[in-house]
Subunit: 193 residues, 2 copies
């Protein structure tokens, strides 16, 4: 539970953590007006930008994982579709235009309350450049992917399936869970549906 949630957004009174009537888990409930402040997972939407036999990666100019490579992706916004969000993030992070063609990878990250939705996106042309949140943008063939410098497990897992599927000649949508293992390291466990 988010411990920084202390006051009601509607009336500014203190929040209590308690079980609302008819509910089966504790929520932040206003001590005065009774409003229940739910917290739910966020969607991170992004894409695998394709150009011939290469994919476009971005080197991160922001934390977390400054300097590491990632697929363009970010939090989905209210009022847009996940596809629109994926194209928007690709424009923001790589100044690149894509046509979204398939929802390819859906990954749950329960330890950080996120769900990644990563689409395949066809680059409309070879124009791209780093956006404000990127240091570099680069098209990589499979053999050139900087596997040891990828920012996130979800990026690695998605790219592994992606290149495997491309060899097979068919992109099969994937769904999986990524759980961070206990300890200070970056070890994780993947379970595919």
């Amino acid at each position: 539970m988010n411990q920084s949630m202390k006051f009601c957004t509607s009336c500014a009174s203190p929040l209590n953590i308690r079980l609302p009537q008819g509910d089966n888990r504790e929520r932040h409930v206003c001590s005065e007006c009774g409003e229940i402040h739910y917290q739910n997972p966020k969607i991170v939407t992004g894409c695998i930008p394709e150009w011939e036999d290469r994919v476009l990666l971005c080197r991160r100019a922001i934390e977390p994982r400054h300097g590491f490579w990632t697929l363009p992706a970010g939090f989905m916004e209210n009022g847009e579709s996940a596809q629109q969000g994926a194209a928007r993030e690709t424009m923001e992070e790589a100044n690149a235009r894509v046509r979204i063609v398939q929802l390819y990878a859906t990954f749950n990250l329960p330890h950080i309350d996120q769900v990644y939705m990563l689409f395949r996106g066809q680059l409309l042309n070879a124009d791209f450049s780093p956006g404000e949140e990127s240091l570099e943008t680069c098209l990589y063939e499979e053999s050139e992917i900087p596997w040891d410098e990828l920012a996130f497990a979800v990026v690695r897992e998605t790219l592994v399936h992606y290149f495997s599927d491309r060899k097979q000649g068919a992109f099969v949508p994937r769904v999986g869970d990524i759980n961070r293992l206990p300890g200070a390291g970056r070890d994780y466990q993947v379970t595919m549906l």
Copy 2:
């Protein structure tokens, strides 16, 4: 934007709606501590519970759409995967146990800031009964589906694709957008990816 968000959850000071530095859309920003209160789409996770050639529907005991039929589904919770949430909702609404086998339908509903993720789920046995939020639960063959008494467009669209795919012998994951059309009615427009 949620107009009921007036006060900061961290310090109870008034929120202003303004463009944070480096951002490209207006947010609720605290006038005192500067905290940005983001709002993002919520995931509704659920399943198509399968038993032989039938699917399990629930008649809603709650608003909206009290008395209409739906697939078991509800807001995904922090700390769970979408698959776990789909199985949990099936237990809560229909007292039924399922094995989740495939992410079948993903629908954006941008007008209400929701993304539906509907899985195929195999019922482990034929034991089911209405949960607290259901009036009735019933297994339906395709010819028996109460098409005119379905609660939501997303349920109708998912079932149409589902039965069509079953005739073809292969379930192809679907992604689409459902937009409510202007006016007081329930008319909507569907765009599939």
